[in-house]
């Protein structure tokens, strides 16, 4: 059941369904439970005075924020009267200023009636406040549809809701009785018809009995969409589950964006050559990506602006276009690498050459982007990617010389006999594998799509702090396993089947299966992120409608871009290029292009327009600038080192 604490929206499936009496009854219930309550009527129209009626019935303080003389929808009534429209912010402020335990916000008319300036609705208000909604419904014919529509509209914005029947007849007919069984959503109660005619004292005495807080059928989300079965009905658990699910976005970004083909290859190659001697580069990369993602996530939460939106705004159209082309090209290259990677993983499992799998992989990826629900996508690939932990488990199983591994971790110089430039080249590759800009585009765009608010900042930070380091650990696990198994044999890692050797050595065929499953999930996740990020970057630069949450029809150019990128990736891999080499090039160019996207984000994180009161503090700026320095050095050194060492040969 919903949480009756803080602001609670009281809305209806229609006008005249009994919102006012339900509000008064709810207030009485809360008073009887010892809560302090206040009521705000958002806009009063016509001659009635709902606020006074509420105060009369339940005795709590009630006020209307504005009133218009004509008995019309507030938006129309305001236009006719020439009186000013309410600003959403003012209502949010009024609701937030209330000192009582609960503030009941009574809308006007049904849920999607325009209430004020710019056409905001009661739903926008609930979404802005992050508060639950009590939906007042009729008892008779027609209510099933109205109620389902209202609940669906709330579900779209992830607003929790419960239903109250506004006027339950003393002698219910067949329709009412049947409706009572079939009415969707969790039921909070029903108010007897004519309750408003009771003496106020009687009303207050009887009101608590009209509600049943224990009755808890499946959650609204569940009933309406058949999805989100994890959302459990008791409010505390529901909230916790919701938070847990919000975390999967971060974990998904991390697994897909961190442990992608680039990371798997780089960790395998480096582990087999330098052991854990380059762990410091991974640590730098993890710190870098955390700082980068945290800033862009914060901007997304405060201003609703994704990364490319602010890049265009900060740099102007010309410089932003250069930036767009560079980042787009790098992301497309990463996408190509991932597509090749997925095909390689399938070929390792099936013993059929990877070239056969490229087109099916492309089609599969496109179908996922076209059809699969965002949350499912996040959960499925994020959680499956965790199986890459098999490398860490294999390491523990093989019980290596932990002291020697520890010494490698502590070293910051190339092992004896290894040239410094090659060592540094691989440091940059590992760093770039960690700091993939597409992960940040995806993270911040996903945050905008999920409608993050400043109140989500803590979850967002937790996402970052949990997700990316977790990804880092997984990749260090791959490197450590390679250091233990491949390094002593002097294997020069060139293919994926070399990377999975430690898992096979420890657990045989089962180890191979788990490792390949993990690689598959991670590369598919990364391919989806890359593909979507290509679309995000273009759409945000040009101002196209974008995202997975709008129907493809409404984001035609976005979906066309994503589809074409997938096609290009497929065609390139189909030519027979070595996906591992594509990956290595994509990492080098990632390093080169990083400052382009990082710098505008750092600047915007200091701009109150974008970050509001959450602008960078001293710590964030200190870290931000330190990371900038590392990024600039890596970008400047990447190409010279690549040429000098002939791709680390």
């Amino acid at each position: 059941m919903i949480d009756l604490e803080g602001p609670v929206l009281v809305t209806g499936t229609d006008t005249g369904v009994g919102k006012t009496v339900v509000t008064a009854a709810l207030a009485s219930l809360l008073l009887s439970r010892g809560n302090s309550v206040e009521v705000i009527k958002i806009a009063q129209t016509g001659d009635e005075n709902d606020a006074a009626e509420i105060t009369r019935l339940c005795g709590v303080r009630a006020r209307a924020l504005t009133a218009y003389p004509d008995p019309l929808a507030p938006f129309s009534a305001a236009r006719r009267s020439g009186l000013p429209l309410l600003e959403l912010e003012d209502v949010v402020e009024a609701a937030s200023d209330v000192q009582s335990d609960v503030v009941l916000l009574e809308g006007a008319g049904g849920l999607l009636v325009q209430l004020g300036a710019g056409g905001w609705t009661a739903r926008d208000l609930a979404s802005e406040l992050g508060c639950p909604a009590v939906v007042v419904a009729r008892a008779g014919l027609g209510t099933l549809n109205h109620t389902a529509l209202t609940l669906e509209a709330l579900t779209r914005r992830v607003i929790e809701a419960a239903v109250v029947i506004g006027a339950w007849p003393a002698e219910p007919g067949l329709a009412e009785l049947e409706n009572l069984k079939d009415l969707p959503g969790p039921r909070l109660g029903r108010i007897p018809e004519g309750a408003a005619a009771l003496e106020p004292e009687e009303f207050r005495r009887r009101a608590p009995g009209w509600f049943d807080l224990s009755e808890s059928p499946d959650s609204v989300l569940d009933q309406v969409t058949g999805e989100a079965s994890l959302l459990i009905t008791s409010s505390g658990t529901a909230l916790r589950m919701k938070k847990l699910m919000a975390l999967t976005l971060g974990v998904f970004s991390a697994i897909g964006g961190f442990v992608d083909l680039g990371d798997i290859v780089a960790s395998g190659v480096v582990g087999a050559r330098y052991g854990l001697g380059l762990t410091w580069a991974v640590v730098l990369g993890v710190i870098g990506i955390c700082v980068f993602a945290e800033m862009s996530g914060r901007i997304a939460a405060v201003s609703g602006t994704p990364v490319y939106g602010l890049i265009r705004d900060k740099l102007g159209p010309g410089a932003a276009l250069v930036n767009l082309i560079a980042s787009f090209a790098v992301t497309l290259l990463s996408l190509t690498a991932q597509i090749g990677g997925i095909a390689l993983v399938i070929s390792l499992a099936s013993h059929i050459p990877h070239i056969v799998w490229v087109i099916p992989v492309g089609i599969g990826l496109w179908l996922v982007i076209w059809r699969v629900k965002f949350d499912n996508m996040e959960r499925a690939f994020g959680l499956s990617g965790l199986t890459i932990a098999v490398f860490a488990v294999a390491l523990w199983w093989l019980d290596p010389d932990w002291g020697a591994l520890g010494q490698q971790v502590a070293s910051v110089a190339p092992p004896a006999g290894e040239p410094l430039p090659t060592y540094l080249f691989y440091a940059i590759v590992l760093f770039a594998a960690a700091m993939t800009p597409y992960a940040v585009f995806f993270f911040s765009s996903g945050g905008v799509e999920e409608g993050w608010k400043p109140s989500d900042l803590r979850t967002q930070r937790l996402n970052v702090m949990l997700g990316f380091p977790l990804g880092g650990l997984l990749s260090v696990g791959i490197a450590a396993a390679a250091a233990t198994v491949l390094l002593p044999k002097g294997v020069d890692v060139k293919t994926l089947d070399q990377v999975v050797q430690p898992a096979i050595l420890a657990f045989g065929a089962a180890g191979l299966a788990v490792a390949l499953f993990g690689f598959f999930a991670a590369t598919v996740g990364a391919a989806l992120e890359c593909g979507l990020s290509c679309g995000y970057a273009m759409a945000q630069y040009f101002g196209w409608p974008w995202g997975k949450r709008v129907a493809p029809k409404r984001g035609a150019r976005f979906h066309l871009t994503v589809g074409l990128c997938l096609l290009v990736g497929v065609l390139v891999v189909q030519t027979g290029v070595d996906p591992i080499q594509v990956t290595e090039y994509s990492l080098v160019f990632t390093a080169v292009a990083l400052p382009l996207t990082y710098l505008p984000v750092l600047v915007a994180a200091n701009d109150p327009d974008y970050a509001g009161e959450h602008v960078n503090g001293r710590l964030s700026n200190g870290l931000g600038i330190a990371v900038l320095a590392v990024i600039v050095i890596a970008a400047a050194a990447a190409i010279p080192l690549m040429i000098l060492t002939r791709m680390g040969a």
């Binding site: 710019g118 609703g304 939106g309 409608p545 974008w546 709008v550 493809p552 029809k553 150019r557 327009d609």
Partner: protein
Amino acid sequence: MNTWHGRESVDLLTDLIDRELVDPDGLPVGRVDDIELRRRPDGLWEPVAFLTGTAALERRLPRWGRKLINRSAKLTGGPDDTRRIPFEAVTDVNTSVSITRQAAEAAASPAEERIKRKVIGRIPGAGHASQ
């Protein structure tokens, strides 16, 4: 002092140009690619409307960018005329510029419409958001 959407002064170059235009649902309509100015009788220039569309954007790009954008617009049946959003249609100014639904519909991109009609809309399932 007069304010405009809660601001006492607005810097066209840093506060308005290149910002996103959004409809009342928060969906992007385009970007402020240019701003139309009008010469007032007293000789001062007054901004009167936002312009959006690749034709407006092109004018603000270096030559290579202009060519690139122009060619890509041609590929999708453009370039289209610039759409104009009068300042009266602005409902809120933030990191994005909110405009009325009517203005948003009038400013909708013809290229988006063409691609929807000819390509994306023809694929089964185009009408479903994969939420």
